[in-house]
Amino acid sequence: MAKETGIVSWKQLNLGIAITDPGNASQLKTGDWRAMRPVTDREKCTKCGQCYVYCPDMVYTKDAEGYYVQNYYWCKGCGICAKECPVDAITMIMEEVD
């Protein structure tokens, strides 16, 4: 939990909040920042890969069928993929409140 969110007690912080395990940015769950999530309609999707190209956080990966799939651990919900999709296959859906 702590590594995903950065939420820890002040007593557990490293000296000067130094980061002692390099590359740990990948553990930070930036998906927590998301207000809206992109959802792909596979009926419309042409597998062109524009979403993969434009995504600033590289959250898209190609699956076995050739579709591009979002990783919601990192997707911040910026909506660039939905804006750029040439066939409007990606819709931004409001996240449910837990």
């Binding site: 969110t5 939420i7 002040w10 000296l15 000067g16 909040i17 130094a18 002692t20």
Partner: protein
């Protein structure tokens, strides 16, 4: 046994830094700190001190170089004053937040405008919030002793913070005083080699100074605040250790003839010497007056200060800086002391006086005038603060 030798306090200060086996000195010269930096540069150039001397192009760069050096685990020293401190200040906050021990001598000087190279506490006061430990020297021997003390406090595992040693510009930095310079071997015994808890090391990479998101910034600040709060006990412990080894015992708060004092003068720095002369003179006339001064301004030793002043009916509190706060509250030092008094529901008569600004002399007569003003004033007459020695 070391001998007492007449030496300029700046030179003695630099020699004391040399005794501490510093690894890196990065500094930019500014009056009245110049002799400290020049002498350190000489010590390195002539081979007396095995250290890197980095002649940077500004104070901003000086502190940046010091942070790099301290982050790499080197024992680091710098020195500045006034405008130089102002330019450096952005980076000073980072040194304390990253918990990097280093020592900086600050030759206290007024801040422009008008341009003034002379002494007051404007730089000491604006630097009170940068998160450093602030020690204040009153006379030459104290400045020399505070240098190894400062390194030892800052490098203590329970502290790990940068430390300022303040000395009044000219009135202390440029006077020649009889000083006992400790032996190098003695200093080495007192100040063991610096072993950083965390340092920049290609074998074990760390990131220092990352972004602190809103989820962690408060916790980071709390951790830093605790470190400074907890340093108070360590500071007294180090003073005691120094006292045991060198025979010169220091305290967070120093008192002079306060036991039965009805009026206590509160001062900081070299002006306290004039205050003590004034007290001697007033005592000879049967007036019960004493002096209290802080050797440590951050962390603020509230308990020790209160114990020292609680017996007095009248307090004369000196501020050596213009307040610029709108005129309805006191200047910084008096504000802090009033806060200590308020928390303890204690209400002596308080006079707050702005004195010795930009090198203006403060005389024994001035002290007598301030003491008389507070003694004679009725409740509410003193106001938040007043200037002394100002021409109408």
């Amino acid at each position: 046994m070391s001998k007492r030798v007449g030496v300029e306090v700046s030179i003695a200060c630099a020699d004391a830094v040399g005794l501490c086996d510093v690894d890196v000195v990065a500094a930019y010269p500014i009056t009245p700190q110049t002799h400290i930096v020049e002498h350190l540069s000489e010590l390195v150039a002539e081979g007396h001190l095995d250290a890197e001397f980095v002649p940077v192009e500004s104070e901003h760069s000086a502190m940046s170089a010091c942070i790099g050096s301290a982050a790499a685990g080197a024992r680091t020293f710098t020195s500045t004053s006034s405008q130089g401190y102002a330019l450096m200040s952005e980076i000073c906050y980072i040194a304390s937040s990253l918990r990097l021990p280093m020592v900086m001598a600050v030759a206290n000087r007024a801040i422009s405008a008008p341009i003034s190279i002379w002494n007051d506490h404007a730089d000491l006061m604006f630097a009170r919030d940068v998160g450093w430990i602030q020690l204040i020297g009153e006379y030459g021997q104290e400045v020399v002793d505070l240098i190894p003390i400062a390194f030892r406090i800052g490098e203590d595992k329970r502290v790990l913070l940068p430390v300022q040693v303040n000395l009044d510009g000219f009135t202390l930095s440029h006077v020649i005083e009889p000083i006992i310079m400790p032996e190098k071997a003695e200093i080495q015994k007192f100040l063991p080699p610096y072993k950083p808890q965390l340092r920049l090391d290609p074998e074990n990479p760390v990131t220092m100074g990352p972004v602190g998101m809103p989820e962690v910034y408060t916790e980071a600040r709390k951790a830093q605040d605790e470190a400074l709060n907890n340093s108070k006990a360590v500071i007294q412990e180090v003073f005691d250790e120094f006292g045991k080894q060198f025979g010169r015992q220091y305290k967070l708060v120093e008192t002079y003839k306060t036991e039965d004092a009805e009026t206590i003068i509160f001062s900081m720095g070299s002006i306290s010497q004039t205050a003590m002369s004034a007290v001697d003179h007033m005592r000879s006339q049967g007036k019960k007056v004493g002096v209290v001064r802080l050797r440590v301004f951050r962390p603020f030793p509230a308990k020790e200060l209160f114990d020292a002043i609680k017996g007095a009916k009248n307090l004369v509190i000196l501020d050596r800086v213009t307040a610029f706060n709108g005129g309805e509250i006191s200047a910084p030092v008096a504000l802090e002391i009033k806060s200590v008094l308020f928390d303890r529901k204690h209400h002596p008569k308080v006079g707050n006086f702005l004195v010795g600004l930009g090198g203006r002399d403060v005389t024994v007569q001035n002290f007598e005038e301030m003491v008389e003003k507070v003694a004679a004033a009725k409740d509410g007459e003193l106001g938040p603060y007043q200037f002394i020695n100002v021409r109408e």
